[in-house]
Each structure stands twice: as C-alpha cells, then as structure tokens.
C-alpha cells in the first residue's frame, strides 16, 4: 500500500494522486485501502514514516562501520528519491512545507533517527550535533547535492568525536 502511494506520487504528484491511484498501483481494491486509511494524506504520512524507518535502519547498519558512509547514503537516498523529485518539479510548495523543520512529532522522530545513527557510530549525539546533521540531510529532500560523499566526509570531520559528558547537578 505504502509502496503504491510512493509510486503514485512519483507518477502524478501529491495533489493529483487519488486514493484510487494508490489502490491501483498497490494492486489492491479501493475498499481495502479505505479499511486502513481514510484519506490520501494519511497514506502519505504513513509512507513517509515507513520510508524514514527503513532508511534509518539501513544507515544504522552502515554507521557501525563508517559514519560518513551512512550520512552519504542517507543524503543520496533523499536526493534521488523519485517521489521527492517529482514534488520538486511539480509542487515545490508541498516540498518546501515538507522541509520546514519544527518541533512537531514527525520531526522529533527524525531527530531520534539521526541520534540513533550517531549512536551506532559511537560518535557524539548531543542536541546540537543531531540538529546540524538533520539540517544537512533535510537539504537533500529539497534538491540533490553535488559531491555528496565528499560533503559527508567534511561534515563528519567537523562533528565532535566523543559524546559530551553530561553535566550533573
């Protein structure tokens, strides 16, 4: 279903995608889709969530080996995501709304993802570090980057190596 949603956006963009499109591309009946989701917005939200979870898992595995690899991988995936690229050309306003970072629940989850990737690499995962990495990654949602791998290396070199000791009061 979620895969169907991603492919529907890739094909039609978010605004013109209908529940029927999603069902067709997912190879299921429309009724089945409605059993799980009331509207396409709910499907999109679930798809973003699932995509983020999968990417996080992959990056955690890679980060145990090399953090720069993991960050380059995430940036590459976000920058070349077909559905996101479709939005970039057809509905820049939608994409721009998607890249506006705030303190809402989905963004808190994104922070959690970044933190778990940093933790997997054994590097510092304090709030400012997480924020720097998150903002760098989100920039690729907006547009693919150039020399992403080299950027990731630069970023990782600039990040604090060890966890900052927690202050005790």
């Amino acid at each position: 279903m979620l895969d169907g949603a991603v492919r529907a956006v890739e094909k039609h963009g978010a605004r013109r995608t209908t529940m029927a499109d999603i069902a067709t591309l997912a190879g299921i009946a429309k009724g089945t889709l409605y059993n799980h989701f009331r509207a396409k917005e709910a499907v999109f939200a679930a798809a973003v969530d699932a995509g983020m979870t999968a990417l996080t898992e992959e990056c955690i595995t890679v980060a145990t080996d090399d953090l720069a690899d993991a960050l380059a991988l995430a940036a590459d995936r976000l920058g070349t995501h077909p559905a996101l690229r479709r939005l970039a050309t057809d509905e820049p306003a939608t994409l721009s709304a998607m890249t506006t970072i705030d303190d809402s629940e989905p963004w808190e989850r994104a922070r959690g993802s970044v933190k778990s990737i940093l933790d997997a690499s054994g590097r510092d995962s304090s709030v400012p570090t997480v924020e720097v990495v998150l903002r760098w990654l989100v920039s690729f949602v907006g547009a693919p980057g150039r020399e992403v791998e080299a950027q990731a290396s630069v970023l990782v070199k600039a990040l604090p190596i060890q966890s900052q000791p927690q202050l005790q009061f």
């Binding site: 992959e58 890679v62 690899d69 991988l73 791998e149 290396s153």
Partner: protein
Amino acid sequence: MVLLRGLIGEVLRRHRQRQSRTLREVSAAARVSLGYLSEVERGRKEASSELLASICHALGISLAEVLREVSDELVALERAALAPIGFTPTTAARTVAPKPSRTPAVATLRPFEPVATPARRPAAPVASLSVAPVVAA
C-alpha cells in the same frame, strides 16, 4: 531462502571491510552510486555482470575469487540444512507447539517447512529437503 545476490553482497562487503575501505571509496572507484553499492552489499539489488566486474576491479579481486567464496558458502549452508539437526530451534519450536493443522490456509503459511510430520523430529535428514528452511532465518 538463500539468494545468490545476498551471498554475493556478503562476500563483497567482507572484502571491502577487510581492506578497511569505505563505501564511499569503493563506490567512487567502481563508478557506482554509494546507495546502489550499499544495496548490492545488502543483497537488495541484483548487480549486473558489468557492475559486478567493476566492483571486483575496484576491490582488486577477481570475479572467480568472489564466486568461489560464494560457492563455498552455499555448500556450507546446504550441508547445514541437510544435517539431522538442521532444523533451527525456532522452526522446531513452531512444529512442536501448535497442533499440526491440516487446513490448507495454515499450510500455505509455511511453504518451506518439512512435510508436516507428527513426529518431533525426523530421524534422518530428508533427502528432498531444500536449503530453504534453515537459512531463511
């Protein structure tokens, strides 16, 4: 089920790690995207012959070497699957705990399990048993 691409990916990753090289280095040398190389290593994507050649070249290993290791691994997995105790604890637990059901619906849920035997464990390896059940986990 053991997939060839999964084994190839494992072997490639092992070689890369043994050389202490990053995905970035090898993907740049092989002229393949880092994301794609990661997927190949994880067995998510089937590498084309051209791509495989180029990754091997980047790693400085021969394709024959990779395929030999893949083959060795496959042999080991097949042997393990055919061993009398080849049923993993989880598989064994599943066959013992629930009453063997005859309904086709349940049967289709476990396509790879050995023929529904009422016995706890077959006395001898089942000759026709494929590699699938054990290595799937």
